[in-house]
Amino acid sequence: MLDINNLHATVGGKEILKGLNLHIGEGEIHALMGRNGAGKSTLSAVLTGNPAYTVTEGTVRFNGKDLLGMSPDERANEGLFLSFQYPVEIPGVSMVNFLKAALNAKRKYQGLEPLSASDFLKLKREKEKLLEITSGMQNRSVNEGFSGGEKKKNEVFQMAMLQPCLAILDETDSGLDVDALRIVAEGFNKIRTDKMSAIIITHYERMLDYIHPDYVHVLYNGRIVTTGDASLAKEIDDRGFDWIEEKYND
């Protein structure tokens, strides 16, 4: 589904990714861990086509297509979704209009007619229920005045509406209290189909108690230096990153 080969990327003139390789198969859950500043969000930005980041070398194939050659909206409509670490507030654009625009853009891309008003409402209600979202939230401007937890919930709610085939959750767990974390993680599990893959970026292991990863990777020095199963996340939770970084210092 996703093949990242020798990916190099810079931001603000600084090289952050230095030859990263990662292969994600259909239906797989990959956890990506690493210290603050390791480049985890840089990887999500590069994959989704954020213009502030520059790819200097490497290739990425997504469902057989050249991902890096596509515009950000094409990538999204091909089924790539990012739950932002810092969701953006858009004053004056209502959640409802935003969701409609997003859903219908995807349908247009797929050659489908726009969703009828009643079908849209039905879908929205169904997904709101899944994530225990009060519909008042959806009458406001996109993310405006939302609490940290509401913003993260809203990201996963949008994911539920758009049903991507590859979702990147960039620290969706941080800023959530225990209950909100459970709702978001369980919501994610309900949204998931056998075909959907995910990259779960996290510092902590607690998200992975709900969403069981098939692989756990550690990002250091711009590369994935080690890969293991869920037990690696446990070990990092207990011992931190020092012991890994010592091994891979050049």
Binding site: A52, L82, P87, I90, G92, V93
Partner: protein
């Protein structure tokens, strides 16, 4: 009851709001207008100045609060393009006390267009307990568009609340990217952000027909 007055392309207009009168004034794309409004005691003015034509324009709005307890609300929006030049001036004079005035002027500039906003706000020595606010926000859609904003506050009374603010910027790149990440094409995302920017003014228009007309004219320029 509020009365309405729609002024189109007249050059010099004088209006008086009598004591206690509430009035709405709508200006739809005037080319050259010098409007003077005298407010008597307790009168209430709500004015919308909309510039959505392709001609150059010079709009001067002069408000005199001549008796106490007046309220003045001025809203403006302009969407310029091509080589258009639009000058907007407001002069609000608080001559006496206990008056309120607020101003919100938002402009979107495309291509090589120019907008200048000159906002004079004068609070005279007798105008204690005045509350006066002025905001001017500009959005530049091209590198060659230019905006000049000159707020001028002159305050000669000490027991007042006054403020002004002016900002000029581009469309929020983070918001654009966020929308694109959700599948919305860039041009459509830009349109949504522009509508949102101007909507802050549009939503203050009480007359539904006029409001719908303004929205339609904005959309035609997107």
């Amino acid at each position: 009851m509020s009365e309405e007055l729609l002024i189109n392309n007249s050059e010099k207009v004088e209006v008086e709001l009598s004591a206690g009168e509430q009035r709405q004034i709508r200006l739809l794309s005037p080319r050259n207008l010098h409007l003077t409004i005298h407010q008597k005691q307790g009168s209430d003015l709500l004015l919308h100045a909309v510039s959505l034509a392709d001609e150059d324009a010079h709009i001067s709005i002069n408000v005199f609060q001549e008796e106490p307890d007046c309220t003045t609300a001025l809203y403006g929006l302009a969407f310029t393009r091509g080589k258009q030049v639009v000058n907007i001036e407001t002069h609000v004079f608080h001559n006496v006390g206990h008056g309120k005035s607020s101003q919100l002027f938002k402009n979107v500039l495309a291509d090589d267009s120019r907008v200048s906003f000159y906002g004079e706000l004068k609070v005279l020595p007798d105008a204690q307990k005045t509350e006066a606010f002025q905001t001017n926000r500009n959005l530049l859609l091209s590198r060659s568009a230019k905006v000049e904003t000159r707020p001028q506050l002159e305050i000669y009374a000490d027991d007042v609340k006054c403020s002004h603010g002016a900002t000029t910027g581009q469309l929020d790149a983070n918001a654009l990217f966020y929308m694109q990440q959700r599948g919305i094409p860039k041009e459509q995302a830009q349109r949504l952000l522009l509508q949102a920017f101007l909507e802050e003014v549009v939503q203050t228009i009480p007359d539904e027909k006029f409001q719908a007309d303004v929205r339609r004219q904005i959309n035609e320029r997107l």
